[in-house]
């Protein structure tokens, strides 16, 4: 077993990651070790990245322990928001009263971020760079000048940096001024690309964890919100503001999200969907009300929420509502808002519609799908006039076995037993023969089904089938597949 990561105290003892655990224990017998859980580490990093979305929507994780925040353009937004509505943007700074506005935006942000991370028990090394790679390398090697970085900062595959060391090139500065073509020829084509990124000559974009929504509304609080009581009112207020923006854009939202940023860096997210585009704040607020009611584990405000963000995650064009010029007749209320509400409360799979399918097996000929999946593409088969219903009202899935007394080879059942009761058959029709889909399944054939519509002496109507012909299998089983009205 090898050591994956070490605490500061352990590093001070002279241990290093990559050592065998047995060697480390030989040197420090009371070393405490626990198994490395890469997934949990990644989840923790993701949790931190979510928390950093309070500064910028462009947040990406890098490597095992790195976060990259793209702050391009954020300063103007923060300055505007900070002065206009919600007071200073970094509350901690102003309350500490250390520095005012003379400090640069990045320095304020860095101070706030370090304070928040320290509060959550993390040690952070921050660095600012012109490109994501430069910032990451500077933070990782705690360095101020990109040229002073060791060549390991290039993160070359395999032992690339050993080869560089052997060639006497130990810092980025050594590489920077050399012609790139010979470097590429000797150390691989990847090197000049990485070098250019590290030196800020090429500026790749980061891929943010979340796509930045087009419409966002934020509320920041100097004093965190300690209870969920006023939450709904705040959401309704933000929905109003978003509705105005949607109205201007001529769009309506299909999916809305609220992110609740807790003081300790945790982010809770609520999402609601609607069946049709809407921008009615009352409807949106009601959906969030349902969502809050139906949460499996309720929101835990902990030390309070100090920021809320309302986002329109999916938008579609929506024309403005128009009242008819003439009074018009009383309209039937639209069902869509009701179905949306029920879908939020009981799950989208609860609201269903019937869908026909192009399949000749009865159990596959139709299905129910969540109403949101859209309308059916196929028409329903029209029943033949004058005929009684040939398909049952309810279908058993799977069919239930029954014991039957019937004539061989393909006579209708005379008597059958189902759920412990005997039924004498008075009327019957059949067989309706439904073959196994041999044209779809390559190997082998399944049994043919012979369906009978029967009515017993008390007038109850059943749909029975024999699973197989007598020539296919010696003693075929009988099943009940459905009940008629």
């Amino acid at each position: 077993m090898r050591i994956a990561a070490l605490s500061h105290a352990a590093l001070d003892l002279g241990l290093s990651p990559g050592m065998a655990l047995a060697d480390a224990r030989a040197r420090e017998p009371d070393l405490a070790a626990c198994p490395h859980d890469a997934a949990a580490d990644a989840a923790l990093l993701g949790w931190l990245a979510d928390g950093c979305e309070r500064y910028t929507p462009m947040v990406a994780t890098q490597g095992e322990a790195g976060l990259v925040l793209d702050l391009t353009g954020c300063e103007a937004v923060f300055a505007e928001r900070g002065s206009a509505k919600t007071g200073p943007c970094f509350d901690r700074l102003s309350t500490n009263g250390q520095q005012g506005r003379s400090e640069s935006f990045e320095a304020q942000l860095a101070r706030d971020l370090v304070a928040r991370l320290a509060g959550a028990g993390f040690t952070a090394r921050l660095a600012r760079g012109d490109t994501p790679d430069m910032a990451h390398a500077l933070a990782r090697f705690a360095c101020r000048d990109p040229r002073a970085l060791p060549v390991e900062a290039l993160a070359l595959d395999g032992d690339g940096h050993i080869a560089l060391h052997r060639a006497g090139l130990s810092t980025i500065g050594d590489l920077a001024d050399r012609p790139r073509a010979p470097l590429a020829a000797r150390f691989g084509p990847q090197l000049p690309v990485l070098l250019a990124r590290l030196l800020g000559e090429e500026d790749p974009r980061i891929t943010p964890r979340r796509h930045a929504p087009e419409i966002e509304v934020e509320r920041r609080y100097a004093e965190p919100m300690m209870t969920t009581g006023p939450l709904l009112a705040v959401i309704a207020d933000m929905a109003h503001e978003a509705a105005r923006a949607l109205d201007l854009a001529g769009t309506g939202g299909r999916r809305f999200g609220v992110a609740l940023f807790r003081v300790d860096g945790h982010v809770a997210r609520l999402t609601v969907e609607t069946g049709a585009a809407t921008r009615d704040p009352a409807v949106i607020a009601r959906l969030f009300d349902e969502r809050l009611d139906s949460l499996a584990d309720p929101l835990d405000p902990g030390f309070g929420y100090d920021m809320l963000r309302f986002a329109v995650l999916d938008a579609e064009p929506l024309d403005p509502d128009q009242q008819p010029l003439e009074g018009g007749e009383a309209r039937i209320p639209d069902l869509a808002p009701l179905l949306d509400r029920l879908a939020v409360r009981f799950g989208a799979a609860s609201v269903r519609r019937f869908h026909p399918r192009d399949h000749h097996f009865p159990e596959h000929a139709a299905t129910t799908r969540p109403a949101r999946a859209g309308a059916a593409a196929l028409p329903w088969p029209a029943p033949e006039p004058g005929e009684p219903p040939l398909r049952p009202l309810t279908l058993f899935d799977p069919p239930q076995p029954i014991t039957v007394l019937a004539e061989v080879p393909d006579g209708p059942p005379r008597r059958f037993q189902w759920r412990g009761e005997q039924h004498r058959v008075r009327l019957s029709e059949g067989p309706e023969r439904i073959a196994y889909p041999w044209w779809r399944v390559e190997q082998g054939e399944g049994p043919t089904r012979d369906y009978y519509r029967v009515e017993d002496e008390s007038g109850r109507r059943f749909w029975l089938f024999r699973h197989g012909l007598y020539e296919e299998r010696g003693n075929p089983d009988w099943y009940i597949h459905g009940l008629f009205a």
């Binding site: 026909p356 309308a375 309810t394 007038g459 008629f484």
Partner: protein, 258 residues
């Protein structure tokens, strides 16, 4: 004199109001003359109607009867969709089958199925749907002993139904009637159908007993056959059990083999 004429005017006003309400929600005729006479024109369009299965095995008949009343309501009113609320656990009688609905003359595309986790959810979603309106009828399927469906719950549904002009249909399989404010309560059983050619089972026939009818006659026995092509009920032509049943089994065997 003055007070008398004022009283008359007030009474006229009351009558006119009642008539306006009645014309806004005309009753839903079932289509069979005897049934409609017994009901005084038909089922109350903005009322609560219960369908109890006579025996546990008649649950499909009770369900079908409720569905078909909803179809009548839709055929004689505006063509808004029908809401069918059922418990996810209610699977002992199988799952609703789209082609089967189509065969009964119910357009499956006009039905919205709400597959809900428990009885409380059914009642809550039912009340919500009635408050919202926009559907022709709401069918609540409540099999077994549904203790949450009590007098208060039924009153809540009935009031909401009256306000929005929606019909509420409650299908109860495997259940004993409990006190409720239903406008009509029926006991439903499957009845032998009129045999078609070659002893084939015919159109669905139901034996109905009107065991409760608010403001009307009670204890009426009816036998109704569903006519899909006309989307209406009718009295069965041959009166159910007919001659072919006697010795029919021998003959039918020969026919089937053909």
């Amino acid at each position: 004199m003055q007070s008398e004429s004022a009283l008359l005017a007030r009474l006229r006003g009351t009558i006119a109001q009642a008539k306006a309400v009645a014309s806004a929600h005309p009753p839903v005729p079932l289509g069979s003359e005897a049934a409609d006479r017994a009901l005084g024109g038909g089922l109350k369009r903005d009322g609560l109607h219960e369908f109890y299965a006579a025996e546990p095995q008649d649950s499909p008949a009770a369900l079908a009867m409720a569905l078909l009343c909803a179809v009548r309501c839709r055929a004689t009113g505006h063509g808004a969709p029908l809401l069918w609320l059922r418990e996810r656990k209610a699977r002992s009688d199988g799952q609703p089958y789209g082609p089967g609905l189509a065969e009964l003359g119910i357009d499956p595309d006009s039905v919205i199925l709400l597959d809900l986790p428990d009885l409380m959810a059914v009642l809550r979603a039912g009340a919500d749907s009635l408050h919202h309106g926009g559907a022709t009828a709401a069918l609540l399927e409540m099999p077994g002993k549904a203790s949450a469906f009590d007098l208060t719950a039924s009153r809540r549904l009935a009031l909401a139904a009256a306000r929005m002009g929606m019909m509420v249909l409650v299908a109860r399989g495997c259940a004993q009637p409990v006190p409720s404010v239903a406008h009509s309560r029926w006991r439903v059983a499957s009845a032998p159908s009129a045999a078609l050619a070659a002893d084939a089972p015919g159109h669905p026939v139901f034996d109905l007993t009107l065991i409760r009818h608010r403001g009307g006659k009670e204890g009426i026995d009816l036998r109704l056959e569903w006519n899909r092509d006309e989307q209406s009920f009718r009295a069965p032509l041959s009166g159910g059990v007919s001659a072919p049943a006697i010795g029919g089994a021998d003959r039918s065997g020969g026919r089937r083999a053909a």
